[in-house]
Symmetry: C2
Subunit: 188 residues, 2 copies
């Protein structure tokens, strides 16, 4: 696909087919993602791939629970707007995607968020190029359940940056309205 088509076609997908994805294809996305630029060529990104339906559901339930607790403790936070959605028992934070790819790295590492975000961007574009859909789901970071953390190999030295839901899109939404870019100053 031409880059400009990828720019146009890459949408955050919230409606996935249940169709599974070949593990080989997922690995190709990851191979593309590590072509991203990164600070000092340190390539700090690591990956965890979850395609187990039961585990994905349990992660979703745990993250919903933890995020709702956060809202309860911080009732004036802007996060409050998500309370109703997350309180819906049938809501799955990953929109029932068949796969979730976690991009993460060593906790507190300088530039980790920027570097993993760049890798995430490459992964999402590569997915679009292969007719897959993605959604970066921030809620997916709030994993506390010790059983789940152990199953995933998530120890406290690791910091999640990008939980990416991945699957074949059921429906590709239009592009949400973009504001005109705020160019604060041009100094010629």
């Amino acid at each position: 696909m031409e880059l400009k088509e990828v720019f146009k076609n890459r949408r955050s997908i919230r409606n996935f087919k249940s169709e599974p994805i070949d593990m080989e294809l997922i690995q190709r996305l990851i191979q593309d993602s590590i072509l991203a630029p990164n600070a000092g060529n340190e390539q700090p990104w690591k990956f965890i791939v979850v395609s187990n339906r039961d585990l994905i559901n349990r992660i979703s339930d745990d993250c919903k629970h933890n995020f709702l607790q956060f809202i309860k403790a911080n009732p004036t936070s802007p996060a409050k707007k998500y309370e109703k959605m997350l309180s819906n028992e049938s809501f799955n934070i990953f929109y029932h995607a068949p796969v979730v790819v976690y991009i993460l790295g060593n906790a507190g590492k300088r530039n980790l968020v920027a570097d993993c975000s760049l890798a995430a961007s490459y992964l999402m574009m590569s997915a679009t190029d292969k007719d897959l859909g993605t959604c970066w789901v921030n809620f997916g970071m709030y994993i506390k359940d010790s059983t789940i953390r152990e199953e995933m190999g998530l120890n406290d030295d690791l910091q999640i940056v990008a939980p990416i839901a991945l699957g074949y899109p059921e429906k590709i939404p239009g592009i949400p309205v973009r504001k005109e870019p705020q160019i604060l100053k041009i100094i010629e």
Copy 2:
């Protein structure tokens, strides 16, 4: 350009032609960059474009000075490895690029670093697609000089995420060695 060519051809460029870039073309890159996904569709990115050679040189000198002070104060920091390079008076942190695009936003905003990094990724790919070269130059964040900050409109409410050197590449280097991706776990 096909996405896979962009992935292959996008290199961090450290050798630019002095040839200027049409402001219209820079604006097209910025228009592409705001197609990036972002948390809650808040589009927190803002831009400052500097194509004034004298100002770029002064930013470079100020950032070198400030980063060297940091190294002096933190002699055991891994940043120490940059001391020799930054002490070289003729070294320009932007590699004499004719343009520097700053991507920034409101200081401390949740998800700002991730969102601006995604925009940076789009901008760098769009540049590659138009035969331009880029380099994300972290040193370019360390602007302290009050005159420069005022000229740029950089007040303390703004946080720089991505200083991107931009220009026509003199030389496109090969891809630096990539480690095999660290897939910590696949849970099927």
